[in-house]
Subunit: 229 residues, 2 copies
Amino acid sequence: MKSIPERKRTRRPVRPDTKRKLLDSAETLFAARGYHVTSLRAVTRAAKANLAAVHYHFGSKQALLEAVIARRLAPLNAERQLRLAALPDAAGTSSILRAFVEPTLALRDAGPGARHFLTLVGRAMVEPEESVRSVFLAQMQGLLEQLFARLSGALPQLSSQEVFWRLFFALGTLAHTLRMADKFRQLPPGVATDLATGELVDMLTRFITAGMEQAPADCQLCAAAGDHR
Amino acid sequence: MKSIPERKRTRRPVRPDTKRKLLDSAETLFAARGYHVTSLRAVTRAAKANLAAVHYHFGSKQALLEAVIARRLAPLNAERQLRLAALPDAAGTSSILRAFVEPTLALRDAGPGARHFLTLVGRAMVEPEESVRSVFLAQMQGLLEQLFARLSGALPQLSSQEVFWRLFFALGTLAHTLRMADKFRQLPPGVATDLATGELVDMLTRFITAGMEQAPADCQLCAAAGDHR
DNA sequence: CAAGCTGTCAAACAGCCGTTTAAATCGTCT
DNA sequence: AGACGATTTAAACGGCTGTTTGACAGCTTG
């Protein structure tokens, strides 16, 4: 209403970051407290935006969740796919699992937002509510089938049923680890609470590799040597 | 605080099963849809009881959750403790883990209520909300410390930090399995969806035993033999 | 019988929820 | 300048939430 801002290099509106701030706030709150217990009022308050902004920019609470997940999961899945495709045909179980795990946990060091996202993903994998879990699984299904196929190729001595169950266990372990990517609580004394991402990747990969590579169920040698049963 | 009823033969009221029916309905609904999204109206409707019955018998929604968990977790933990104590001093990792896992998954065959409880526990372990998770962890802490001590004794070559992390992974795998104790969805074709409990216990125990018993992180032989890194 | 406790019931409470509306504001273009 | 689309804003909507209340029924005990 006054002097002309001739050098208005800012072609974007004054507040183009409302959408991003909503995503950031939702990411943090959904991860910390869960999707259902987090109200849109809490999200918009944290983002310093109006309550109606969520519906203007996203349409609904669920669409906001989908956007939060897609923003980071799409690039992450793309890199996991690249890593899997770059493996030699004869790659072993450990390499395959590492190609999947390492880009994931690398987000721990990509800023606090990405770290919150990891917690959110770890929870979304096991969410009781269909709507939340399906939002996540829909974006993962193709990659998971690819991972299953690679592992089946690397473990030809196992039945596909056995590969499935071991992969099921391994993904459960990964989800459990992701949930703790943010912070740890109630640790027994003497255990380091902060761990470098590289060490964590190593430990996790070794754990699930050992579980996947063990002898088949009907291996007599194994049954005789072990103390189980 | 009054006269002692020397012979209270019929101390039960006419409808002593309202409390139990509330526990059953809450167990089922909490497991199927989650604690927060399940309303007391849904619980009382399923139990064919009045809305106020929850507050009369338990005091609050959270107290109902605690009662649901305690009803089955107390006997379960008692048996896990017995199984652990009955082990010989020289028991191996596999036996220790099996003593913990087997009574747990045995609830799969103890009726539909117990099966729902397993799902609920698997979710409570990872619940974002502090109130839910702490209700569960408070009843588990002593047993978990005992389990940690036994495993440390069985794996003397590992640092306590390494034992902690491997146990952390193993419990994550168990929690993931418990969540699926109820039913499975979206399985790839050709994979049996219903599995006998014994087979499941075997597979799970073998998986986490292999992860826990692997060589220490700095084992040169292992690093040279494997294809990882 | 009357008193008393236990359990049930319908109704209401305040409060928060996701969503919608319509008006107000801002930046940009003709 | 005026007009226009893009955004923000305050307010309200109906609906569902956990919890509380007070009256009422059934059985046990004086």
